[in-house]
Structure formats: C-alpha cells, structure tokens
Amino acid sequence: MSRVYSLYSTSVGKKFTMAVSGAIFVLFVIVHMFGNLKVYLGPEAFNHYAEGLRGFGEPFLGHEWFLWAFRAGLIAALLIHVLAAWQTSRQSWAARGHKYRKRDNLVFHYASRTMRWGGVALFLFIVYHILHLTTGTLHPDFVPGDAYHNFVTGFRSVPVVVIYSVAMIALGLHLYHGTWSAFQTMGVDGPRINRWREPIALGVALIVVLVNLSFPVAVYTGIIH
C-alpha cells in the first residue's frame, strides 16, 4: 500500500495511473467498436451479441456477473483517470501564476492542447451515451432487450447525430495524443518502438473515429434500417 501511495504522491506517478487507466479505455473503445460492427450483420447478429455480453461466462458465472465486473473496472479506471487529470491540471495551472503576453506554439501537435476540455467533453458524452443507449432514459423509443432497434432508431435524429459526431472528434483527439502520451509516460521507449508510437496512436484514433462515425451515417442514409 505504501508503494501505491508513494507512486501517487508525485505528479510522475499520477501520470502513470492516468496512462494505465487511459490504456484500459483505449482497449475498451477498440473492443467496443468491433462489437458495434455487428450492427452491419443485421438485427439477429447484433441482438445476439448484446445478449452474449450479458450471459458472458455462464454457466461458471451468474447472468450479467461478467458484465457488471467489467463495468465496475471501467468505472474505477474512469474515477482514477479523472481524479489524476484534475489534480495534475491544478498543479500545472498553479505553476504559471503569471501568463505570457505573447505565446508562440511550440507543442508537437494540436491534439495535446485539447486534452483537458476534450476530456471533460468525453466525460459528459459517456454519461449521455449510457443514458441514451444503455438505460434508455434519454431515448425516445427505447425497447429493453432490442439493442438493434434502439441503435437504429436512436440515430434517426439530427441532434443525436451531431452530439455523437462532436464526441467522436473529441475522442479522436484524446486518443491520438493520449495513446502516444501513454507510451511516453509508461516509459515505453526505444529506438525501434519510437518509430511506431506516432503511427499507432494516429491509426487507433483514425480507425476508432471513422468506424464509429460510420454508424450514424449508415442509419441516416438508410444503409442499416
């Protein structure tokens, strides 16, 4: 416990917990994206997949046990990630009490400057997304157990498509800098891997964003209905 405490006591350690929790999210969004691709196979396949998530691990585990363990893990990671983001941001804001009058941008890429507001946007989106497609609270025509129906009818509204599109841009920027940054923070560095860090980060960000954006577009243009 004392090691965990001393790790978290410095900003270097806080960043490490952000990188680890962030890496968990990166894997999650990739898996989530693959799962969503099943929507192109039609209602049967998609609903079967959605039901499979609930029954995963049966009969060794009870119904939805796996799903809830998975959710608990993600929520824990999110809490750690956001807490560390908040604390390190505050430390950095305090470190430059007096701002420059003139500022030239020397950062590697624009995405790194969007991590804080982009992270907040992502957080709001996560809440909305759960209320929209998981609980159905904010869904006008939610049918429990018919994930395909909820998915398709959900994207028939322009404001919803706009929300998802903006969120995916925020996600893309966060993933691009975040994935690259996580390599750096975790000390994954060397002559061979360094050549791949940038392309991996860009590739993950582009693929996740483009595939996820294809869903509302496919609904909207009637490719899936």
């Binding site: 090691r3 960043k15 420059y100 003139k102 590697f108 790194s112």
Partner: protein, 247 residues
C-alpha cells in the same frame, strides 16, 4: 534598422511589473544582447534604470542568458541561446515583445532576471555520483558502450538555462530533471545511486512548484541543446523501477 521593443520591467520580486516600450536603433551585425546593451547605454545616459538581464559567456555554452522573445524562449532560432541570436533575423520596423521566463518555480528577481536556484536544488538532490577522490582514475578502466556514451553526452549537453520550463504550457521541469538524471543513469558510474537519485530528484522537483508534464513536446522544441524527450520516458521508467525496489 529601427525597432519597437516592449520589455517587461519589474523593479523587485514583489513589484507588480509591466511592459515598457522603447525605440531601438540596431545594425544587422549586432547580437540581440548587444542591441539591448545599446538600449541600456542610452537609458543610463538619460539617468534611467537599465534593463536587467542575465548573460555571461555569450557563446551559447553557459546557460546564463534567457528571455522569451515574441513568445519563444531564446527567440526564433532553433538550437540557439538568446546570446547567439543575431539581429539579421529582424528588419526595420519590427515590433519585439521581450518577457522573462514565466514560472512560479522561477521567481522574477528584476526585469528579465529570474531566480533559477530551484534547478540547483534539483541537481543537489541527486545529480552527482560518489567517488573516491585522489588522483584521476585511468580513463578507460570502466568500459562504456558507445551507444550509451553518446546518449549520456546528449543528455549532459543541458546547460540548465530553463527554456524547457519557460516553453512548457504546464511550466514543468521534467526535461531538465530527466536530462540531469539521464546523463548519470546511463553510465556505469551512475548505477550505485540510480534509484535514490531518481526518487530524490523527482521529489525535489515536485517541491519546487513546477507543473506536471503532459508530453506536449514544447520543451524539446525550445531546448537550445536539442535534448530529446526520450530522457523523460527514461525517467518515468526509472521512477517505477525505483519504487518497486524501494518497497
């Protein structure tokens, strides 16, 4: 050429400070600091307080000079300290904003001079090795792989000017601290104290009111000695190792 300078003037650490505007006459053969020297001579001849700024070697090797010019630490030239910046960069009628390093870890002493003793304390916390003194040891007694020697030399090129902190959107001192740890951690002579060095230097850095690294890369782009942020990845890795060992 005639220039318009907006210079940060602050009489003392507690003074609020503000920009003052000066007209300057310069030739393209001058260095940037010579241009300021001339401005200062004129100020003094009028009985006014000259602009206070730091410099020593004026050859780009000591790390004493430093100011932010139009938003860039050490001005617009890559791989160049401000003492090596020359006026041929500018042309008649240019307007130039000159500010001190801005970071709470570097309190302003006067005008463009900041107190960088926080860096000394970080180095004192671990930027050394323990050896038996006496006659100099045989230079080739301890073999060092060429690749490591070169990396250590690259990190050791840090002159401690503070441009990395000045450029960082978070005012973080990670590039400096990492460079100072790396040039010792890469060499055999640095191994016995490696873990303690890393922990102590990071703890001291934390105590000095610097911000937290978010891997923006601005430090690397501002560094006059082109220290690469791979030294930061190395420090991150060493920190974890040190914690695992320390238990």
């Amino acid at each position: 050429m005639r220039l318009k300078l907006h210079v940060w003037r602050q009489a003392s650490p507690s003074d609020r400070g503000g920009f003052a505007t000066y007209e300057a006459e310069a030739s393209e053969h001058m260095s940037f600091l010579e241009m300021l020297d001339v401005v200062n001579e004129e100020l003094e001849s009028k009985g006014q307080e000259p602009i206070a700024f730091d410099s020593d070697c004026r050859e780009g090797i000591c790390g004493t000079c430093g100011m932010v010019i139009n938003g860039r630490p050490h001005g617009p030239w890559k791989r160049t300290t401000v003492c090596q910046l020359h006026m041929r960069e500018y042309s008649d009628g240019d307007e130039i904003w000159i500010e001190p390093w801005r970071a709470d870890g570097f309190p302003i002493q006067k005008d463009l001079i900041v107190d960088r003793s926080a860096f000394d304390r970080i180095v004192a916390a671990g930027g050394y090795i323990s050896v038996r003194t006496g006659s100099a040891p045989e230079a080739n007694a301890i073999p060092v792989a060429r690749e490591k020697a070169e990396k250590a030399m690259d990190a050791a090129a840090c002159i401690g000017c503070g441009a990395c902190v000045a450029a960082c959107p978070n005012a973080s001192a990670m590039l400096f601290t990492s460079a100072k740890a790396a040039h010792l951690n890469l060499l055999p002579q640095g191994q016995p104290e490696r873990h303690g060095r890393v922990l102590n230097m990071i703890l001291t850095m934390e105590a000095e009111q610097f911000g937290t690294c978010t891997n923006h890369g601005a430090c690397e782009n501002a560094c006059p000695k082109e220290i690469k942020i791979e030294v930061i990845a190395m420090l991150n890795r060493d920190y974890l190792r040190a914690l695992l060992k320390a238990g």
